[in-house]
Amino acid sequence: MDLKLSDEDLEFRARARAWLTRHVPKEPRPPYGEAAARFDREWQRKLYEHGFAGINWPREYGGLGLSAIQQVIWYEECARAGAPHYINTTYVGLMHAGPTLMACGTEAQKRYYLPRILSGEHLWCQGFSEPDAGSDLAALKTAGRIEGDELVVNGCKTWTTDARFADYQELLVRTTPGSQRHHGLTWVICDMKSPGISIHPIRTMLGDEHVNTVFYDEVRIPLANVVGEVGQGWKTALSTLAFERGTGFIGDQLALAERVRQAISLARRVRLESGELAIENADIAGRLALIKADTLAIRAMTLHQISEVASSGAPGPKGSIMKLMVTSTAKTLSHLVAELLGWEFLEYDYEGGRENQPWTYDYLWSWVYTIAGGTSEIQREIIADRLLELPRAR
């Protein structure tokens, strides 16, 4: 084992840093709505045009074909430069749909969609969860009826982030009537402008309307849009989820380090009720030190994971360990900062979002984080099942 970066790595870091210094937008990202989506598209197009989109995507689909280490370097430089947060309206396309198409799509699907995802032309959204199929995804009921060369979809999906701005959706539907659990499902590309789709925003306790419930009333989708085979959608979906649980949150993992730095710096400035500097209080300092250690470990785990994938080819169930670590550390951090901030923390205006009041937003977000994409409880089940091979009761 070693930490040595190659000359190519160092050169890439220097190039990324220089470019980001010049190109990171000065104005903040609008917190919500169409303006935010436009901002994301423009930033993505700029990345694409300047050769920084799809760092580790194959060159044939418009990517740079670089290594996972260089992907890490890119995220670190983005966090350092204060570049737009990469979990935005482009996320599902870049981190879900793209990798899924690469793994399971037809050549035509790859050639059409992948470059348009990279260029910011197409935004995607997810369509897996349903009101009665959240943690238990395989209980989904939205039906796809095959008629000729079309799939006719009826039902409802929920927790669909940014559905209103998405061009396409990765949609998982039950195509074999009466099929049970993970059998008889199909993963299909749904054009969000199709007739019969209606979108109902869900306001969250953060005050935003990122997520939506999407209703499908006789929505017609060409069978050519099926990714993988009809009836084999679970297999395709697993490759989507494996990516998310594998390395899909690397950027987040690394961005956490920057937040911790800010928190430590805050603790050097603010005074507690007792008059002492927060950093000089043994309780606060001890908790901050532990959070810092956890953040360093998250980076080490990321590098370890990349090294394992490099030698074995598959991320494995350790993604669940990572998600627990990242979400619990982020939660501990934002809750500690809430204690430091005093009344400033409570002055939350519900319109500013992450950009205006990052700490209060992060505090509220900490529950979204430990629930979305598989709750912490589900992650522990996955670890118990797949990593520890404990007997199942389910």
Partner: protein, 319 residues
């Protein structure tokens, strides 16, 4: 020695619970504000719960007040009741002021911090009077000017009002154990919140199914719920004890009240957190009331601000 509700106490507790559930249920906060609430409580005579009968009140004690605020906490009741009812204790020596407070002619905000030349108040509507709670004294200040700058609060049922410090004029003050009354009332609200969070998740866990079973059949839900119940029970029993110790003038009343507050704050914080987490996605939506409890608990946790006092009261030699 009897550490449970007697008949009269049960009547107070159930009365306020019924009134709140009817007129000010938790769900109200999803759609409306509490700006008219004070008048409704004034009309029912609740504001004078602990005011002596000769001053127009019901003449009850801090024990009944604790029960009142526990029921209030369960619905994240109108915040303004807390400063209003405490102000009545400060105003004891002025029957006129008492009458104006009892009838909600005067509206009391809580003065929570002083930032440079600005006083930060919390209330659900523009106040006429501000209550400042400090360990050594609790005091009532009149707002001379009308120069209020309003800011939104995480708990949307209230606003922050920023006023120039110079525009506040001392009306009345009290140096006895009123600080303990404030801590006790806050602890009571927090116990109510913690209790409501437990009830909310237990009801949901009975009916929500995943993987073919109600989620309440999974230990990942059952065991955190059991821990929530432990926290509520501990905080509630300690609250009862502290309320009695305060009323009966025990030497260790400050220690007992501190213990009640520390445990109530922990119960409110942890239970409102778990309530959201165990609900899954529904828990973070605005239309579901779980977040209302969390946000109210966040506001209360910062009041009145004497954490080091609490610690000292718990660790003192004689405690």
């Amino acid at each position: 020695m009897y550490l449970d509700l007697d008949e009269g106490e049960r009547a107070v507790s159930e009365g306020v619970a019924a009134f709140l559930a009817g007129e000010f249920p938790l769900q109200r906060l999803l759609h409306s504000s509490d700006s008219e609430a004070l008048e409704a409580f004034a009309a029912q005579g609740w504001l004078g719960l602990a005011v002596p009968e000769e001053l127009g009140g019901a003449g009850l004690s801090c024990v009944e007040e604790a029960l009142f605020f526990m029921a209030h906490g369960r619905e994240a009741g109108p915040f303004d009741l807390f400063p209003q009812m405490l102000a009545l204790e400060v105003a004891r020596h002025s029957p006129t002021l008492v009458a104006e407070l009892l009838s909600a002619v005067h509206r009391v905000a809580l003065w929570v911090a002083t930032e440079g030349e600005t006083a930060r108040l919390v209330a659900s509507a523009p106040p006429t009077v501000a209550l400042r709670i400090e360990v050594q004294r609790v005091a009532l200040w009149e707002l001379k000017g009308k120069e209020l700058s309003e800011r939104t609060c995480l708990d949307r049922s209230v606003s922050f009002y920023l006023v120039p410090r110079a525009e506040l004029r001392l009306l009345a003050e009290e140096r006895c154990d009123l600080y303990l009354r404030a801590e006790l009332a806050l602890a009571s609200m927090e116990v109510g919140i913690a209790q409501r969070a437990l009830e909310m998740i237990v009801a949901y866990a009975r009916q929500r199914h995943t993987f073919g079973r109600p989620i309440g059949a999974y230990q990942a839900v059952r065991h955190p719920c059991a821990d929530m119940a432990v926290r509520v029970e501990a905080a509630r029993c300690q609250l009862y004890y502290a309320a009695c110790a305060l009323r009966e003038g025990h030497r260790d009343a400050a220690t007992q009240v501190s213990a009640a507050r520390v445990l109530a704050r922990r119960a409110a914080r942890d239970n409102t957190d778990l309530n959201i987490q165990l609900h899954g996605g529904l828990g973070v939506t605005e239309e579901y009331p779980a977040h209302l409890l969390l946000k109210r608990a966040n506001l209360l946790a910062r009041l009145p601000g004497g954490r080091s006092w609490e610690r000292e009261a718990l660790l003192q030699e004689s405690a």
